[in-house]
């Protein structure tokens, strides 16, 4: 079967797919940046480390 000329709809779908792709990539970068900020802040504590520390004090 011969290849058909690209329809306008293919361009529109391509634009939508690229847009969603860029947004998802940006979301991943944003979550990574947010996680870095949260875990490097002075007030950050690992919940497990805190609870095991308390158990240690009781023993």
């Amino acid at each position: 079967m011969a290849l058909r000329k690209e329809h306008e709809i293919h361009k529109r779908r391509s634009g939508l797919n690229k847009g969603v792709g860029i947004l998802l990539a940006a979301f991943v970068v944003l979550i990574m940046a947010l996680t870095m900020v949260k875990v490097t802040s002075a007030s950050f504590k690992f919940p497990d480390a805190q609870s095991s520390g308390e158990q240690g004090e009781q023993n």
Binding site: I9, R12, V20, L34, V37, S41
Partner: protein, 313 residues
């Protein structure tokens, strides 16, 4: 070309683009949400990490956009009647109503959870309440039930600075509620001026705007009454923790202009308005946009200058 391909081609023409989904988020309303939430966040007396602050504003904006999509889903029937809204994605046939519902619900959930994680749970819960208020209380209940729809429903648009403040501090205080009241009291004269020169739209859609239920004379008087109350509140805010000389100067100038505009609207009759195609009402509507922008801009200026010993009293 076969019939099948012609039909398929027509169906493709109505397929949504990226821009149609973006239009569901009401970008112009979202810009107001972003600006006022940013002012609320920066006016708070604590420092916020730029990444956390950016995330908070982004997810507040997405929450505002999600409620816009849900509003378009519910109001699709009246949107196709009104000239101002008939080119929106659902009445234009670009996006299915069910798609808008799913899109709005998904973004609502995402924005609330992410704001709670990025800032704090209180801010996330307040964003959820704001979406609920705009979609259920305003859109589903009040909008078609009472001419006070704009007055009470305006609260939803006034919450963003409060959410911004809570995102920064995790607590509530008087200052964000002054910002809330500023937008809350500004909304009725802003929308009633619009209703005066877009009257056939609301009549055709059967939305009980004040112009339809109480008449246009009464609407003009209501605009003046709310503008007087707004002026007292706006100038009084200058002497609070978010005010200062810059804000006071902006408030005095803008409220004098706004009161003058409202007074001119009250003195006009329908023949005057029809005669010049609602020139005074249109200019009052444009002035109202500048009014809100300059008040929040002045609050922002006071907050940004404070570290240099210049902002505030």
């Amino acid at each position: 070309m076969s019939d099948a391909s012609i039909n398929a081609s027509r169906a493709y023409e109505d397929e949504a683009s990226f821009g149609d989904y973006f239009a569901l988020l009401k970008p112009r309303v979202m810009s107001l949400v972003v600006f006022t939430a940013l002012v609320g966040l920066l006016a708070a007396p604590v420092s916020v990490h730029p990444v956390v602050g950016f995330c908070a504003i982004l997810f507040i904006a997405i929450g505002g956009g999600a409620s816009g999509a849900l509003n378009m889903w519910w109001d699709a029937d009246i949107d196709k009647v009104m000239k101002r809204t008939k080119s929106r994605p659902i009445p234009a046939g670009k996006v299915e109503a069910g798609e808008a519902l799913a899109f709005g619900l998904a973004l609502s959930g995402l924005s609330v959870i992410m704001l709670a994680l990025a800032a704090n749970v209180f801010a996330g819960a307040f964003l959820a309440f704001t979406i609920f208020f705009y979609v259920v209380v305003y859109t589903m209940w009040l909008k078609r039930a009472t001419p006070q729809n704009i007055v009470i429903g305006g609260a939803a648009g006034a919450f963003p600075p409060v959410i911004g403040w809570i995102a920064a501090t995790g607590t509530m205080s008087v200052e964000p509620w002054l910002m809330f009241l500023l937008t809350f009291m500004w909304t009725p004269p802003h929308f009633w001026a619009l209703a005066l020169f877009m009257r056939s739209d609301y009549d055709d859609a059967g939305v009980p705007m004040l112009t339809v239920t109480h008449g246009r004379r009464s609407t003009r008087i209501h605009i003046l009454a709310y503008t007087v109350l707004l002026a007292v509140l706006a100038v009084g805010t200058a002497f609070s923790g978010i005010g200062g000389p810059i804000y006071l100067a902006a408030a005095l100038v803008m409220n004098a202009l706004f009161l003058h505009g409202a007074w001119k609207i009250t003195r006009r009759d329908e023949d005057d308005s029809e005669g010049d195609n609602f020139k005074v009402e249109r200019s009052f509507f444009k002035l109202s946009l500048l009014y809100l922008f300059l008040h929040f801009g002045a609050i922002l200026a006071e907050a940004l200058l404070k570290p240099y010993g210049l902002g505030g009293w």
